[in-house]
Symmetry: C2
Subunit: 506 residues, 2 copies
């Protein structure tokens, strides 16, 4: 019981089942959890269970994606009315695309500010995972902070989940500050990745706490495929590009703070830095994956700031069995500070994110399959791409045995416009689009990034459109022809061009 | 001659024709001028003249659009290789769309940072209009600052145009600071619209000054149509929305700092505030138009910060004949500070910009006609929409005698994605998209913003697409059908629906 150092909470301790009874139909819940880290593992799953037997449909706002089957069960059992600002669950995704769940896909850095703007999202209950409770009744979060501070501030009631699987030594890695509303918004005085500006706990009004439950379930582990030939090639292209920036004197060998999205490609890209020439690297990111700890171990990385730690089972064992070795090198922040435009711009973050597809003019689709079906969401990619020093987007050039080209004439949904994308990279190569007009970009993207099997097709599209004129040449009749053919014939490939390898004149 | 208070420049005084000889083929020029204000009126036009007789093709980087026929003549005479970051000239636009001039359409707040990232844009000669020169040889700009400070810093040589038509009392309205490069970028300590953080002049290295010329040509006046029924209706919808935000306690009656784009609609919207209930307004914008001075005169506006003043001939007379009455109420800044993400976010700017077309899901096209032909450019709209407190986009619902609907199934080019757009407004009404999922947005946009003559058509598109499923329902086969029909049949209207007025179920 010593994890709860505030005695007034002791009589609030109860079972998750009982605590969950406080959640009513139509409630708006603000829950901890960011890319499966630090999420509600005891109370929120009860909502899914209860929804099988009673009318219980709630809005769930989180940091980002939740772990285990929480989102899946909520969706499957009809317990979700609206979900925001991010998800990455196959079952929930299906419910969203079937219009069974309303989904608001938001920049992760912007959810917090919504509460001062929209009354309808007043939070009924916040559910926040904690490693411990301070003597003042404040919450020490676990492996993520996400939106928990703003949820706690805006909630009528708070349920705390004490998770005993995490070492209490997690206390100290958090830096929590709730920003004032406009017109009193202050400077966010983060000047370096490691600048502390707040408290190591979430200050709450103890009177709001209605239940405290215990759990010992670890975070559901990240499952990340090892780097393969393609992701290694992408990483190498990025390293080579950055090495050149250093050689030319535009960056130093410690670069600028790095941000990397989540998943196999982003993890592989960061892993690549382990054997690079760079030194004294820092990260100002939203999620720390296994690669962050590889970089610490290799001595390449000095410090990492993020909003969550999402690691594989093996990495988790390594980190938590020897947490003191890492503790001084990392910091977790609320996601409106890890993803703050102000800080990202000031620090000059190098943002590395993945794309579903990119087009020849540098527009990026991060969210929608064939322009309609939601995959995960934009996450924080826009926060970094829009305001950082460099915005890099990576994807494979081709997939599904060549049936899909990820370099297309026109993206079927635009999350990052041509104005916000500096670098495109596939396993084929890298296109530096900075300072280029659209017709210059098209040639570089086709030449450097497209798979050879699709180059002729892309070039034909571009050249036909070019003849029609226009700053950004397109033939609207054909812009989505590849996506449509994929649907009807199972491939984007036009027969005549299959397997042709051609050279593009730059 | 007393306008040049630095004696070492006196022997640099020469004719514009002679000064222009310093400009060579392939040069990169960084010129003053932002929305026709404070541009080079003597030397840059000489480049166009010379290009008729010799090989002279240059890259021209400016603040934003230039005045008179400067851009037109440069384009017409083949003097432009590349132009950035903005233009608004019909002749140049045609050259861009014919691929005779390369155009890089950039966020206006981001051009300045490009110089630390890309060596290829090293500036050969900066040409900067000045009202006077200080005793240290520094430049006091005229009616805009734009990118002039960063151009001067990055240029090998500087040509100054002393414009005697402007009163010397302009000295004092400028606040100039050149930000340090990353990793040494500092906090931008602007806490209010009127915070001063720099000098009232552009510090330069006097040794770079190679020529000083005199001119007395005023800025080419803004030509702004008076508010009409449509733009008045748009203004009223916005005022009503903001009044409601005040009534509900989310904003105060002084709102938050306002930004408005340029042109008839934006000017009409701001004019509307003259007779509103709001008090003690401020502006943190990029351009001050006539409406700003109307608001000063009405006592509604306390202070306005921007990067330029672009007013009509009448307004210009009023302002400059009595400049002391306005001087303490306004401030001009470099455009990377007027448009800084950090400041816009901190102050919580309410951004009001115009769109070429919007779609039912809240995506906005600000730049391209039919997805291909450049109109002007994104300007600063993205700087404000992405990082402000509220991003409002306005356009007429319909134009060309009903042949064009500005509310379409899918925008033909995306400048502002669904993630960055809060409010859409036409003369028909206003759609508040905050916190809505795409399928909710579609119904509100069709109901509130579409013209009655296009409602049934839009609804049919949406309902057909809805049946196909997907988070953002689209039928890719038909997404651009309206744009294509406009091209082939001269109208977006499907016959059956013309003049049908229907109600959309919300």
């Amino acid at each position: 019981m010593q994890r709860v150092k505030y005695s007034a909470y002791l009589d609030k301790i109860q079972s998750p089942e009982k605590a969950a009874i406080l959640i009513k139909n139509h409630h708006i819940l603000g829950v901890s959890g960011f890319t499966k880290a630090g999420d509600s593992k005891a109370v929120l799953p009860q909502v899914a269970k209860r929804a099988l037997f009673e009318d219980l449909k709630v809005t769930v706002m989180s940091g980002a994606s939740l772990g285990y089957n929480t989102d899946a069960d909520l969706a499957k059992n009809g317990a979700l009315y609206k979900r925001m600002p991010f998800q990455a669950d196959p079952t929930l995704r299906k419910s969203i695309n079937n219009h069974e769940v309303l989904y608001v896909d938001q920049h992760l850095g912007q959810t917090a500010d919504m509460f001062q703007k929209i009354d309808k999202f007043k939070i009924d209950i916040a559910i926040i995972e904690a490693v411990s409770i301070t003597e003042e009744g404040y919450i020490v979060p676990t492996t993520s902070i996400g939106n928990s501070p703003i949820f706690a501030e805006n909630a009528d009631k708070i349920i705390i989940e004490i998770n005993t699987t995490f070492p209490e030594s997690l206390e100290g890695i958090h830096d929590v500050k709730v920003l004032k509303k406009q017109p009193n918004r202050e400077v966010i005085p983060v000047l370096e990745s490691d600048t502390r500006i707040g408290d190591p706990f979430i200050k709450i009004d103890p009177a709001k706490v209605v239940a405290v439950v215990y759990t010992e379930l670890p975070d559901s582990p990240a499952v990340i495929a090892a780097p393969d030939e393609k992701t290694k090639a992408i990483s190498e292209h990025i390293l080579k590009f950055l090495e050149n920036e250093v050689e030319e004197g535009r960056l130093t060998e410690s670069l600028l703070p790095l941000q990397a999205g989540i998943g196999k490609t982003a993890n592989a890209i960061l892993s690549g830095f382990t054997n690079s020439k760079f030194k004294n690297l820092t990260m100002y990111s939203e999620v720390l994956q296994d690669s962050t700890f590889e970089l610490f171990d290799s001595g390449k990385l000095l410090f990492a700031s993020a909003s969550s730690m999402t690691v594989t089972e093996g990495c988790s064992k390594k980190v938590f069995s020897n947490f003191e070795a890492y503790k001084d090198k990392l910091l977790l922040r609320p996601q409106n500070i890890s993803n703050a435009a102000e800080v990202i711009n000031r620090l000059g973050v190098i943002g590395i994110n993945t794309a579903i597809e990119v087009d020849i003019y540098g527009n990026v689709n991060s969210t929608h399959i064939a322009g309609t079906k939601m995959m995960n969401g934009i996450g924080g990619s826009g926060d970094f791409a829009r305001n950082g020093y460099l915005s890099i987007f990576a994807c494979p050039s081709m997939s599904k045995e060549g049936r899909i080209s990820h370099v297309v004439p026109m993206v079927s949904h635009t999350d990052h416009s041509e104005h916000d994308v500096d670098i495109l990279v596939t396993e084929q190569g890298l296109a530096d689009l900075r300072g280029l007009a659209p017709i210059e970009r098209a040639r570089v993207v086709i030449e450097n990034c497209a798979h050879p099997e699709y180059k002729a097709q892309l070039l034909e599209y571009f050249e036909d459109a070019y003849k029609l004129g226009g700053h950004t040449p397109h033939s609207l009749e054909k812009a989505f022809a590849w996506h449509m053919q994929l649907k009807t014939e199972g491939t984007m490939k036009v027969k005549d061009y299959a397997c042709n390898e051609i050279e593009v004149k730059a």
